[in-house]
């Protein structure tokens, strides 16, 4: 027998509907519309340097949005992800400028700090069964306080700078903060594509991916058939923390200084990108590529509005409208997927 025989009751309609319920479909359509709009209005926007320009914010946002998408599919939120990018950057710059650590070593310490925060988030959420919204709001506020308090204590100001003179800076900058040759495209774009590919593969083609969908879809049912739900969720929080470390390090190496309030307010942008990409707020459904496309929409709008010479304030209006449209589209998908035939 062939691998999967085709059932005669599945006609063309079935195929069209299946395409329609792909989680990233809404984001793809949205991205095309936004691109056509800005590209037709602005020659700079569609030029190579213009594309390099708007892919840059898309890349750093995309790395985070993909990780947050995995977490949201697993049924949890992480509000501390934004401020954690600041924390890891501060650790990196402080250790290498004030304590003479090699940049690479300082990055390793930053990674350890990030993973510890992610592990703590995951452990508290899975042990106490408190909503992750509340738990990570707590870590968010605590990290915000630590970032400001410790930075002021060490430097007397609200920023640390001078990373350029630290040992190992040049090599680390090439890998994380530089551009690809002389093309004007940032290295971060490669990291972003890499993260998206790995995340998509894990979701769709690995056992862990099946567990992520399951713990977000119905945790009790997943547990009943032997899925290690707590382990899966803790791993997801640590993945988000890893992404925050990556983005925090990229930013620190690019600007060579970090503000103590870096990353604050970004946590909702990540969630918005993931939702535009097709993630349900209730978990169990979504895609990594969708979140990446959500980040592209964000990047295009962010820079496109500037290219058109509009007031940047309109960006927030645009973001809100996209979010509303995306959630409406998602709700229709969910209704379709969950409708029960009797």
């Amino acid at each position: 027998m062939s691998s999967v025989a085709v059932d005669e009751r599945l006609g063309e309609v079935g195929r069209v509907r299946r395409l329609l319920v792909r989680p990233e479909l809404g984001a793809v359509v949205g991205a095309i519309v936004v691109f056509v709009f800005f590209a037709s209005q602005s020659a700079v926007f569609r030029s190579v340097s213009g594309i390099a320009n708007w892919l840059d914010p898309a890349a750093t946002l995309g790395i985070m949005a993909v990780a947050i998408a995995l977490l949201m599919i697993g049924g949890e939120f992480d509000l501390s992800a934004g401020v954690l990018t600041g924390t890891t950057g501060l650790v990196l710059v402080t250790l290498s400028t004030r304590f003479g650590l090699n940049v690479w070593l300082a990055m390793l310490v930053g990674l350890a700090v990030a993973l510890a925060v992610g592990f703590a988030n995951g452990l508290i959420v899975t042990r106490t069964r408190l909503p992750s919204f509340i738990v990570t709001l707590g870590t968010f506020l605590m990290l915000q306080g630590i970032n400001l308090g410790v930075t002021k204590m060490i430097t007397g100001t609200v920023q640390v700078s001078g990373l350029r003179k630290a040992p190992g800076f040049e090599s680390a900058r090439v890998v994380f903060g530089g551009t690809i040759g002389d093309s004007g495209f940032r290295v971060a774009i490669i990291w972003w594509i890499l993260v998206t590919i790995v995340a998509s593969w894990v979701l769709m083609r690995s056992r862990a991916g099946n567990w992520i969908f399951a713990v977000g879809g119905n945790e009790q049912a997943a547990r009943a058939v032997g899925v290690p739900a707590a382990r899966t969720k803790i791993a997801l929080f640590m993945t988000t923390a890893f992404a925050a470390w990556l983005v925090g390090s990229i930013m620190a190496l690019r600007f060579t200084s970090v503000q103590a309030n870096a990353g604050i307010g970004q946590e909702f942008i990540y969630i918005i990108a993931a939702v535009i990409g097709g993630c349900l707020l209730t978990g169990g459904y979504g895609s990594a590529i969708g979140a990446s496309i959500g980040a592209i929409i964000f990047g295009m709008a962010d820079k496109g509005i500037v290219f058109l010479g509009w007031d940047a304030d309109w960006f927030m209006f645009f973001l809100g409208a996209m979010l509303l449209l995306a959630t409406l589209a998602n709700r229709m998908v969910r209704r379709y997927a969950e409708e029960v035939k009797h």
């Binding site: 599945l10 690995s206 056992r207 099946n210 879809g217 119905n218 049912a221 969950e338």
Partner: protein, 252 residues
Amino acid sequence: MILQTQAIGKAFGSVLALREVSMGVAAGQVTCVLGDNGAGKSTLIKILSGVHQHDSGTLLIDGGEIRLTSPRDALDRGIATVYQDLAMIPLMSVWRNFFLGSEPVKSLGRFDVATARRVARDELRAMGIDIRDVDQPVGTLSGGERQSVAIARAVHFGARVLILDEPTSALGVKQAGVVLRYIARARDRGLGVVFITHNPHHAYPVGDRFLLLNRGTSLGEYGKADISRQELTSLMAGGAELEQLEHELTRE
């Protein structure tokens, strides 16, 4: 007998949820557990499936005394439980649900998707379950189809005892018939089936033995030869109580 209880009991604080219940299920047979709401059916199956542990009496598997520590422990000993509402994850496809928790993997944790799709389809077909498309989300299946997929899954993963918690109670007449047919098919494949229900009309055609529970205690375990459908129904409803009710409801 694969699975057997002897005078088993369970208390939650001062509430005696189950007292001195003895029952058993043999390979290729269906034991029906009947009782009204609050009769102790749930407590009994939770002991059998490893969710709760008994306080008194003994639990035997293949004649040896045992204490199940967790649902996973029960599963590893071949006791699979299909819960009424916990069986499936609606937004996931049929084949993803089928292999959830026991995914076939190649090296590096790669989910063997091709095998999973093929085996899910073949196993469902072997049970006579006709699913249009194994890629469709389970949420689009009917209640009966969902129960059936869960039964096929338990059979595929080598369950020797299948515990079904009220699989027909939320279903229409036709759908309930479909599920009963799969229960019979699982039985024919040599599984012992524990079928929990409060509907004697669902239990009688498929059952070999009938355990009746009332207020946490056993009204007796009967073989099919020892009890008629009429007697079963009347015992279920509490015999005298039903007559009393009938009397009350008659027109003057």
